[in-house]
Symmetry: C2
Subunit: 104 residues, 2 copies
């Protein structure tokens, strides 16, 4: 059993989004990404039969990668196959939880 | 692509925890459970090679099922194999996100 306190995953970095691996098993990988304003997770995709879930824990930004940008506010949860282009750009400080199922 | 606004999943029920299926695929199932004070998800387990993630979105309660109760506050994320007994009891109104990977 693993217990994680997400409010304590609160580091940021001026260079690039702060990234922390929280959990990793064949079934799922859980990552935290914390963004300063204007930092972004570039649009990308993977050739695999997995799904990625992007949950905004705090802050405001936009989900990128689709035909148009989608507002990303606290409590927004985007789920999509990893084959579909996905990314995120922060407008404010933003904390993102990423879950990949199964692990790539 | 599926987009869910978790703050809008805000129904409660007096009889038993309000339950809503948010997403379902072979890779993962996502459920919301909203508890009134003292409502609970009974301790249970499943004989399968899957993991269950319990994320407290709002409220206070305790994770049950282990040797001792573990405080469950907003931002607490518990991950465990579904073979291990798990459950939750709410002290206040509590909103829980459950992710099962892969789907049972």
């Amino acid at each position: 059993m693993k217990l994680i306190s997400l409010p304590e995953v609160n580091k940021f970095s001026g260079d690039r989004p702060y990234r922390e691996l929280l959990y990793d098993s064949p079934n799922m990988r859980v990552l935290a990404f914390n963004f300063e304003p204007d930092q972004e997770l570039p649009i990308h995709s993977h050739p695999a039969d997995s799904e990625v879930s992007l949950l905004i824990l705090e802050g405001e930004g936009v989900f990128t990668g689709g035909d148009e940008e989608i507002p990303a506010r606290a409590g927004a949860l985007q789920i999509l196959p990893v084959t579909q282009p996905h990314g995120l750009k922060a407008k404010t400080r933003l904390r993102l939880l990423v879950i990949i199922t199964p692990t790539l």
